[in-house]
């Protein structure tokens, strides 16, 4: 199913390859010190809501919450954003300032920077600490594989996918995850607080 999208992804890919040329040397220097289970071992390029292209490691050095959804999703996906906001509201201002949030689109064909930005504005999230990115279509299975997210595109263009929030430490190691949506998960909140110490 993702394969059908190859042609449409070409324009995006061409843009990404250009920017990758600049990225690769900087990334390999970091890799020497990465833990073997760090998600930052995965070298892919993604485009954010402002059109900027980076790796998944844009927030390396801070604890990060990761989630995956698509902007046109009607029900659960907005709840993912509000669940993260709810969880953040349980943190002190100081704790919150150190935490980053990276949301990854599972619908890179349709989730343009404009749409991702629009979603963020509608939800009133702090774009100095949050970003939404779209990967290259061919990298999507790998990225979902890394975060343990399951997804399937449906014939009508919608998706089935698991709603999951993953906590990364400063080096990109996955510390904890939750699939409790719509309320805050106490154990997960504790893990976040510990990672911010």
């Amino acid at each position: 199913m993702t394969r059908r999208k190859r042609t449409a992804g070409c324009a995006l890919r061409a843009a990404l390859i250009l920017s990758l040329l600049n990225l690769s040397s900087a990334q390999s220097a970091d890799d020497l010190s990465l833990p073997p289970n760090s998600v930052y071992n995965l070298q892919v390029s993604v485009e954010d809501q402002s059109g900027m292209i980076t790796g998944l490691d844009r927030y390396q050095g801070n604890p990060v919450l990761i989630t995956m959804f698509y902007t046109s999703c009607p029900h659960v996906c907005p709840m993912l954003v509000s669940t993260i906001k709810l969880t953040e509201s349980k943190l002190s201002d100081e704790e919150r300032a150190s935490l980053r949030v990276l949301t990854i689109s599972i619908d890179p064909e349709r989730d343009t920077p404009e749409k991702m930005l629009d979603t963020f504005q509608r939800h009133g999230v702090d774009t100095s600490r949050w970003s939404m990115v779209r990967p290259q279509p061919d990298d999507l299975r790998t990225i979902t594989g890394v975060f343990g997210v399951r997804y399937k595109q449906l014939p009508d263009g919608e998706f089935n996918h698991t709603a999951r929030i993953v906590l990364l430490d400063r080096d990109g190691t996955q510390l904890a995850s939750t699939e409790q949506i719509g309320r805050h998960d106490a154990a997960f909140l504790e893990a976040i607080k510990s990672s911010l110490l």
């Binding site: 199913m1 993702t2 394969r3 073997p36 289970n37 760090s38 998600v39 071992n41 995965l42 959804f69 698509y70 999703c73 029900h75 659960v76 996906c77 709840m79 299975r141 790998t142 979902t144 594989g145 890394v146 343990g148 997210v149 399951r150 997804y151 399937k152 449906l154 014939p155 009508d156 919608e158 998706f159 089935n160 996918h161 698991t162 709603a163 999951r164 699939e179 409790q180 949506i181 719509g182």
Partner: protein, 259 residues
């Protein structure tokens, strides 16, 4: 000098065994999948594609890790492989006496299988593609309704997991000239994590429903087709870094025949 001769012998052995298994063209078509694409409709269209006639062997995978040391056991990062990765081999670049070059490689993660296929300018087959070729017996493209077909597969499932795995192509080719879709190993597919079977049929309602965004979770059709559903159940339990003793893979490509 001795070292050099040793290397030459080694290289000869590796290249001799590592004739990458060829691809055969598969004419696509419509068929009934156990996994419906949309609600209530289990007819699925599969486009023309090409697939390797047999699972990737130990020798073929050895050749890959010799070219890509980042995928050698002990070097591959634990983000991408579990601690049993290639554990049937004697060493990171040696098969040893316990592993035949012609046996299908197992103890490989989805990430490793995916990287191998990319190296072959190929990809993993989708579930629908795999299910499509695996529906054949030696004379018809879709033998799934035949009791003998189901019985053959179920009798394989009932064999002991400790048995030695046969070499690839030990069994007959099927209608598509493809070997070993059943009876040898389980196989990774590209979209292995598209199955969301758990938490759906067993636990109706409640918080688990919230795991699924979109048009509701998948329900499996053709429940009488137990032999294939076993595959789905196994794949739905896997994470991309897992490896098992009986899980291998083969690669696929878009069809080389221009429409």
């Amino acid at each position: 000098m001795r070292v050099r001769v040793g290397l030459l012998v080694f290289a000869a052995v590796v290249s001799g065994y590592a004739q990458a298994s060829e691809f055969v063209p598969i004419p696509g078509g419509e068929f009934r999948s156990v996994i419906p694409e949309g609600e209530g409709d289990n007819r699925v269209a599969v486009a023309d594609f090409a697939v390797q006639v047999a699972p990737v062997t130990n020798a073929e995978f050895l050749r890959f890790v010799l070219h890509h040391s980042e995928w050698q056991r002990g070097t591959a990062v634990s983000l991408f492989v579990d601690d049993q990765y290639l554990s049937t081999w004697a060493g990171p670049i040696s098969l040893g006496p316990e592993s035949s070059p012609h046996q299908p490689v197992t103890q490989v993660s989805w990430f490793a299988a995916n990287a191998y296929c990319e190296w072959q300018n190929a990809r993993l087959p989708s579930w629908y593609e795999w299910e499509f070729i695996a529906a054949a017996n030696d004379s018809v493209p879709d033998a799934r309704a035949l009791p003998e077909w189901q019985q053959t597969i179920l009798s394989w499932y009932s064999r002991s997991g400790g048995d030695r795995i046969d070499d690839v192509r030990s069994g007959p080719a099927n209608y598509y000239e493809v070997h070993d879709t059943h009876g040898l190993v389980w196989e990774w597919v590209d979209d292995f994590n598209a199955f969301m079977v758990t938490g759906d049929n067993r636990e109706q309602g409640g918080a688990d429903q919230l795991q699924f965004c979109g048009a509701g979770a998948i329900t499996m059709e053709e429940k009488e087709n137990y032999a294939v559903l076993m595959r789905v159940a196994m794949l739905s339990a896997l994470e991309a870094r897992y490896t098992t003793r009986s899980l291998g893979f083969r690669c696929a490509r878009q069809s080389e025949i221009e429409p």
